[in-house]
Amino acid sequence: MSQTTTDDVLAPLRRVFANDAAKVAVMYIAIWVVFYAFGNHLGYGNSGMLSLVRRVTFLAAVYGIVVLALNIQWGYAGLFNIGVAGFMAVGAYTVAMLSSPPAGSPPGLGLPLPIGVLGGILAATLVGLVAALPALRLKADYLAIVTVAISEIIRITYNSPAFSDVTGGARGFGNLPTSPVETLLLQDPTSPASEATSLGETVFSFAAEYGISQFAVVNTLYTVGVLLVLLVVYLLLERAGKSPYGRVLKAIREDETAAQSLGKDTQNFKVRAFALGCGLMGLAGIVWFAMGPRASVTPQTFRPNITFYIFIALIIGGAGSNTGSVLGGALFASLLFEAPPMIRSIIQETFQVSANPGNLIEALIPIASGNLAPLGGFLLNNIDSLRFIGMGILLVVLIQRKPDGLLGARKETAAGVPLTADTRPDTGRADADAAAVDGGETDE
């Protein structure tokens, strides 16, 4: 690559932004700043602010995990799985069944949490395998229909009164395991107000100096844990993607016949990618729903809608790029999910909107006399519907105008070593290797 002197000034800056870690860091910091500004505007105190930022971070992180899992299936291997909700459900329900206290209702087996988590991931993987073996031979759109049907079958099964002794039926699994943070910090992990352990004592008293409650500390630390899980999943998939394995998946996505004609057992690769993705979806379901601040395992949670949110997030980030997946998940969770209610509060506060017409027609009629307030009030009150309409339109626009995503590049190279022009045998290859972007180079 040629380097002209004029570039030199900006080169370090550009190099930072070429770095994926920097992109993600900048995105998260930007989200924090925006939500800090929101909170500030609404006059949140320390602990309100912390909980706001914590909430958006948590959602960004769990979306990141599940979008990454979908990316290995769809972004890399081109497997159009729209049963994500079902696989998350299997993960969340399984961990609840395995690790919840036997005393509660519905009773769990009370196994240690690591075993439960492993079981949840394995169960999701297994269900994925059972679904994948026959279904992966189908055309992409058939696979889509089959996977969404499977996810509905899973949801209806958990919902059914027939198994409510084990699953909790329509009311959901009300007896969830405690998170590792609770176990570490609280003497009685099942009660958020319980006495602290000695470790908890130190942490809580430190936090108390800033006016942060015990409850907020537990949730915040759990969120940090989720960020760590995101990091691990990201590194794992970065390695899987930037390897001969990822290369074959990409080839399958592009042209399966070509991959087969180069001796690749494409079915085998597809099954493994599908199973890996499903297992990670199970993990996402666990950290998202089975414990922590949003713990709630009910059949309604796992409707197909959530699958489509995840797809929108992946398409925003750019299918095929792991970094894009993390960015897309964060962007979706913050701007499309958490921001609209904040913006509503801010607008309502700033403009003193109090009009509250019962329906769209009543909101529209006053426009004739130049009064926009009722319409404004109506739209603000229905911001949930508006948000979904907006998501739909966004999806259409993205797929029409920017099918490669807003942020990521579908075209990241898939190899265990950099594939730039200066990796030619007769040029300075050592330099390029030293600046390798993937984590895989570090363990040499």
């Binding site: 073996l133 279904a135 027939a162 489509f308 979904f388 739909g392 999806l395 797929i399």
Partner: protein, 403 residues
């Protein structure tokens, strides 16, 4: 590699005739069991290490006939709605995930019209009011009706009085309006969303249709509200008890109207050039284009026919079930897909038959899925669909093209 060989063998087994014969055998056992149940013969329990299996049992013939009738009613609606999906699937080459929301849009728009007409007091009352308004004589009944609440389907069903006995004209006009509005919606969406993507691959179109589905569904929620409501009035609605099966006028209307629509479609496609052009396009779009078939016009006709029937299906669904909500069509979508796949994509008769099979399967399965297991009726239909996709992706009727 070993694992893969196992996989290969497993799939090979499932796909071979052995797999199919297991399915057949299972069907046969269920059939015998059904016969035994109807005859009131019961064997068992046959002990297995885990639980006892009862063969046969007791089920009233009337109850069974009720399942069949319910299955036909829902099956006809699904069949009607699946024609449109099947047509767009084969001619535009993508699985339209917004199709269920077209059903919803048809249902709401049609019932809004029905509600206004019925709520004012029927066509006669409207004419009367119009005459009175013009001449200035007599009462002007439009003024006492709360039009806003009627249009938004918020009036109580008894007050609005929308049913086939009290206001047949309102129902018929509503049906036509449902078809018409859905056609308009589909053409607008085609212009905005799908037409700019004519050359895109099936998956991109599918994703776009998911976006459309969201937008339409929540637009309906925004306008009409997110609550589910009952709209048909059961006041004085004729119904008959035929050997234990309760059949009401709405269900009969549904079946008759659907049959007329299906027959009309049959004539349309058999007797006109359009039918031939549509078949040609379903086979091979670029070839059809080369041979001078005006593809854009055929696509437009496809949307018109498909959406019209879909809107009508939405309207009729509400007529038979009584209620609707903004998720009504979305919840039906997978069953519609099941019907289309069963019948073979692109086959209109297949879609109709597939709808009936799915409708019947989802109700007749209740013979076995009693009590707490009743919620597995839908999964049964989905499972049937998955089996068809795996063993006969061209549909159970052999993938006969629209003919």
């Amino acid at each position: 590699m070993d694992a893969n060989a196992t996989i290969e063998r497993g799939v090979g087994f499932a796909r071979s005739s052995t797999g199919a014969s297991i399915v057949t055998a299972f069907g046969a056992v269920l059939f015998l069991d059904l016969v035994a149940k109807l005859a009131g013969v019961s064997l068992g329990p046959l002990e297995t290490p885990w639980f006892g299996i009862w063969f046969g049992g007791d089920i009233a013939v009337g109850q069974f006939a009720g399942f069949i009738w319910d299955g036909i009613v829902i099956g006809v609606v699904i069949g009607l709605a699946s024609i449109g999906l099947s047509l767009t699937y084969s001619i535009l080459n993508f699985a339209n995930f917004a199709h269920g929301d077209y059903v919803t849009a048809g249902a709401f728009s049609g019932w809004a019209v029905t509600y206004v007409i019925a709520g004012i007091g029927g066509l006669l009352a409207i004419t009367e009011s119009a005459v009175n308004a013009v001449t200035g004589l007599g009462t002007y009944r439009l003024e006492d009706a709360d039009l806003v609440r009627l249009v938004l389907l918020q009036t109580a069903p008894l007050e609005a009085g929308a049913n086939m006995w009290l206001s047949p004209a309102a129902i018929v006009i509503g049906l036509v309006a449902a078809a018409g509005m859905t056609i308009v919606l589909s053409l607008i969406l085609d212009r905005l969303v799908y037409r700019p993507m004519r050359d895109a691959d099936g998956i991109s179109l599918l994703i776009a249709s998911i976006g459309v589905a969201f937008a339409v569904r929540y637009l309906v929620a925004l306008v009409f509200g997110a609550n589910r409501r009952i709209v048909t009035s059961s006041e004085k609605l004729p119904s008959a008890n035929l050997g234990g099966v309760i059949v009401d006028a709405h269900e009969v209307t549904l079946v008759v109207v659907a049959a007329i629509l299906m027959f009309g479609l049959h004539v349309l496609l058999q007797r006109t050039k359009l039918g031939k052009a549509m078949r040609a396009m379903a086979d091979n779009r670029s070839l059809a284009q080369v041979t001078g078939i005006p593809t854009e016009r055929v696509i437009k006709s496809t949307w018109i026919i498909g959406a019209g029937l879909t809107g009508a299906a939405g309207f009729l669904l509400v007529l038979s079930q009584g209620g609707l909500g903004f998720q009504t069509g979305w919840l039906l979508l997978l069953l519609i897909f099941a019907a289309v796949i069963m019948g073979g994509i692109g086959s209109i008769y297949g879609a109709i038959a597939g709808g009936l099979v799915i409708g019947l399967a989802s109700r007749v399965s209740l013979v076995w899925l009693q009590g707490d297991l009743a919620s597995f009726a839908r999964p049964t239909a989905f499972a049937l669909m998955i089996l068809v996709l795996l063993f006969r992706p061209s549909g159970i009727f052999g993938g006969v093209k629209t003919a």
